[in-house]
């Protein structure tokens, strides 16, 4: 394993996607921070084999991942960004839907942890038949990956696949159901910039109906104790959303009143053709985030967006690029860290492999022997012992 040959190390993606607006100064040396603590976390053992959604997680599960994510943020801000936690393990990215940032983020996360990353973009919507999907899963399973990251246009497809494979499965977005790592990275972003999520007023605005991000975020933010509001035209408000534990608004100004964080959602072009919405300009007029509407939130309110943005449709450029209020690029940075935390945590929970032949990887017990460049005491970054 020669980490510096990783194609991402010098790729332009790194320069554009992963440059946060205002990075804290680098630590004196460019070495990864000293690794301390017990990566197996004596206090709490994350009990899940897969990450299929936020639903099913409890507060400790989420906080465990966020705290580990915090550590990886620090690592990612060093010049040498390697931890050897997943040395020798294989991570397969299986994307049945086009993706730039999520796929890239998982690739980078996997490589930084030392895994061998294989990305299989199967971006065709025709691969929707259950049988084909399961066949694909069986084929992949036979190659003995350790971690499988899946995005699929059909809700529930990732869960279906997870039943057919032996490795850990991470849902990178299934249809309009869940996108758990997005919710985790959003929570990490808010926690680092605003503070404790408990009691914060957080508005999620836009196409809630078709958004897996919204579903995961409502669940995650609720678990963490936030007051969640959903703001959308009625055509884009899911039936029964009032029972999600969120307050429903149609009027932006009323919904944004007193909010600490405003999360905008992407509006798909095909929603603006007169079926769900009459036009992009009407949508922007009533639900696009501009200076005036944002003024109804707290003066200190932060703005987030899972990307990619439709500037001038759901968000005004001036807000999206705002130096102090926009957290949009920071969200991307947090994405890598939180995915590293997820990958590491799930790898540790993998069952012992009985008939391992070529994949004789240690099951990441925290005492794994693999080392990475510059690491002195251990491969992973443990969560501090409480």
């Amino acid at each position: 394993m020669t980490p510096h040959t990783s194609p991402f190390c010098h790729s332009p993606i790194r320069a554009t996607l992963f440059t946060p607006p205002a990075l804290p100064p680098r630590s004196a040396c460019d070495m990864p921070p000293e690794i301390t603590g017990d990566p197996s976390m004596a206090d709490y053992a994350f009990p899940h084999r897969h990450l299929l959604g936020i639903e099913g997680l409890n507060r400790l599960d989420i906080e465990t991942l966020l705290e580990l994510g915090d550590k990886y943020v620090e690592l990612n801000r060093q010049r040498v960004k390697h931890a050897g936690t997943l040395n020798g393990q294989t991570l397969v990215n299986l994307f049945f839907e086009n993706s730039t940032r999520t796929q890239g983020s998982f690739e980078i996360a996997g490589r930084r942890l030392g895994a061998d990353v294989v990305t299989m973009p199967i971006a065709t919507s025709s691969v929707k038949k259950g049988e084909t999907l399961i066949d694909t899963a069986m084929t992949l399973n036979a190659m003995r990956p350790d971690l499988l990251v899946i995005r699929h246009p059909s809700s529930g497809a990732v869960k279906l696949l997870s039943r057919k494979v032996d490795c850990a499965v991470i849902n990178a977005g299934d249809g309009t159901h869940e996108h758990p790592t997005q919710a985790l990275l959003d929570a990490l972003t808010i926690r680092r910039r605003v503070g404790d999520i408990g009691g914060l007023k957080i508005a999620i605005c836009g196409d809630i109906l078709h958004s897996r991000v919204a579903r995961s975020n409502v669940a995650c933010l609720n678990i963490l104790g936030a007051e969640v509001r959903l703001i959308a035209p009625r055509t884009l408000t899911p039936p029964g959303a009032a029972d999600w534990g969120a307050k429903i608004f149609t009027d932006m100004r009323a919904g944004l009143k007193g909010c600490d964080v405003v999360m905008m959602l992407r509006l798909q072009q095909e929603r603006m053709d007169g079926a769900y919405l009459p036009s992009a300009r009407e949508y922007f007029h009533f639900w696009g985030l501009d200076e005036e509407k944002l003024s109804h939130a707290k003066p200190t309110a932060f703005v987030m967006h899972p990307g990619p943005m439709n500037r001038g449709v759901e968000i005004e450029s001036g807000i999206a690029d705002h130096k102090t209020r926009s957290l949009i690029t920071e969200q991307v940075e947090m994405g890598v860290a939180v995915r590293m935390a997820v990958l590491e945590t799930l790898a540790k929970n993998a069952p012992e492999i009985g008939l391992a032949t070529g994949t004789a990887t240690a099951t990441a017990t925290g005492t794994a022997t693999g080392t990475t460049t510059g690491t002195t005491t251990g491969p992973g970054i443990g969560v501090k012992t409480r």
Binding site: P233, R234, T235, T250, A275, Y276, P278, S279, E282
Partner: protein, 428 residues
């Protein structure tokens, strides 16, 4: 109008409050400054008008008027329609969007408003098309069009056939608490029909519009209003069973209101008589039973608005065999006389009849007029409820003369009409 005008010696009727007393009205700067028995000859005013005991009521509000502007000015313009309105005691009317081009954008709503401000003698409110070009598929910019001044949204006489489209439109409209009007009709059942289905149509050899065409669409619309929470105006229902359905839904909490064309209260299918094309309208004149059921609904206050359904058509579209003739009848000038005739025949009390053309529609649209209240605009009509006359289409102010009342005897005549305190019509 500046200064103080007192109208005294009148029978003052205000359906909003049930007021029915001798007295008068004091107008100041176009606004009603005072109402009641105290206003008489001794009231200090710049202008005094003696009503000679005739009836003074709020000017009428008509929720369904078509003109030909823009696109078919040969039928009617906003100006000629407003003259007909003033002559009929109608001081506010709402124009349908089915013109050429269709009123389905902010710019066209603005056009109607500006045009009416310039030429109309009475108040004109635009509506917006529910769908772009009334195609029944693509939702119009409901939010922006409502902000521009459309009072409600309708697809006119082309119902939105796709229930999925209508459901989304209603959901979306509910975001703005916008009022969605729908004339209940199932084109698959009503296509190429001429009059009410039944024995009389069969005898005349004409294709009849079955009642189910209205019932099926109505039940669909009511269900969608119930599940989406949208405000629905059932436009021109025409049967007793339809009215019952609306009342049942209303009782169950659905935000539904309804209107009835005045001709549905006045005529029945037999009035089509000798293939009279002026009596070819949508919805058609129904059976006497249905007419009686609607009269009963009007008495009970179950009908929110009675409308003229004014639809001018030129002779070239009406002087044809009835199956080929256009639908539609003018009605602005005969709306009040037709209602007053029903009152004179003791079919309905005066207050109940007037309520459905004044405070009823005003409350639906949230308008300040339509009532005799301090501070309300002085939009008024003075009429003689007992004056008999025979309607002659050539005497109508409307540019088109296609009136089913042509040649019929009516009771009740408009004497004078005021808009914002200014006289816009006075019978010579």
């Amino acid at each position: 109008m500046t200064g103080r005008t007192a109208i005294c010696n009148a029978r003052v009727i205000d359906p909003a409050t049930g007021r029915d007393e001798k007295g008068g009205i004091l107008i100041e700067n176009g606004i009603i400054a005072d109402v009641g028995a105290a206003i008489g000859k001794a009231t200090i005013a710049d202008v005094k008008i003696d009503a000679h005991g005739k009836t003074l009521a709020p000017g009428l509000i008509d929720l369904r008027v078509k003109t030909g502007e823009p696109g078919a000015e040969n039928k009617e313009t906003l100006e000629t329609a407003s003259e007909a309105a003033a002559a009929g005691g109608v001081t506010t009317f709402v124009v349908m969007p089915d013109t050429d081009p269709v009123i389905d954008s902010v710019a066209l709503v603005d056009f109607i408003k500006r045009r009416a401000d310039g030429v109309a003698k009475v108040k004109v409110h635009p509506t917006g098309g529910l769908t772009v070009n009334l195609d029944g598929q693509k939702m119009s910019e409901l939010g922006l069009i409502q902000e521009a001044g459309a009072v409600f949204f309708t697809n006119g006489d082309k119902p939105v056939e796709d229930a999925g489209v209508l459901r989304r439109i209603m959901q979306y409209a509910a975001s703005f608490n916008a009022l969605v009007a729908s004339r209940p009709d199932t084109p698959a059942l009503s296509k190429n029909t001429v009059m009410n289905a039944g024995a009389f149509a069969a005898r005349l050899g004409l294709r009849g519009t079955p009642l189910e065409a209205e019932w099926i669409a109505l039940e669909r619309d009511l269900m969608l209003a119930e599940t989406t929470g949208a405000r629905l105006l059932v436009d021109c229902l025409s049967t007793g069973r339809s009215l019952k359905a609306v009342e049942r839904a209303r009782k169950a909490g659905v935000k539904v209101s309804c209107s009835v064309a005045v001709y549905s209260l006045f005529f029945n299918e037999l009035d089509v008589g000798d293939y009279l094309t002026y009596c070819k309208v949508q919805p058609p004149f129904r059976s006497e039973e249905d007419r009686a059921a609607l009269i009963d609904g009007l008495k009970r206050g179950a009908i929110d608005a009675v409308v003229s359904a004014h639809d001018p058509q030129p002779p070239e579209d009406k002087r044809l065999p009835i199956a080929e003739a256009a639908f539609g009848a003018v009605g602005l000038e005969t709306l009040l006389p037709a209602l007053l005739s029903l009152v004179a025949r003791d079919e309905v009390p005066l207050l109940a009849a007037l309520k459905a053309v004044t405070s009823g529609p005003a409350d639906l649209l949230g308008l300040p007029q339509g009532r005799l209240q301090k501070g309300a605009p002085a939009d008024l009509v003075l009429f003689d409820p007992a004056a008999p006359w025979a309607c002659d289409r050539d005497d109508l102010s409307s540019r088109s003369k296609n009136s089913p009342f042509d040649g019929r005897k009516l009771e009740g005549k408009v004497l004078r009409t005021w808009v914002n305190g200014a006289t816009v019509f006075e019978r010579g």
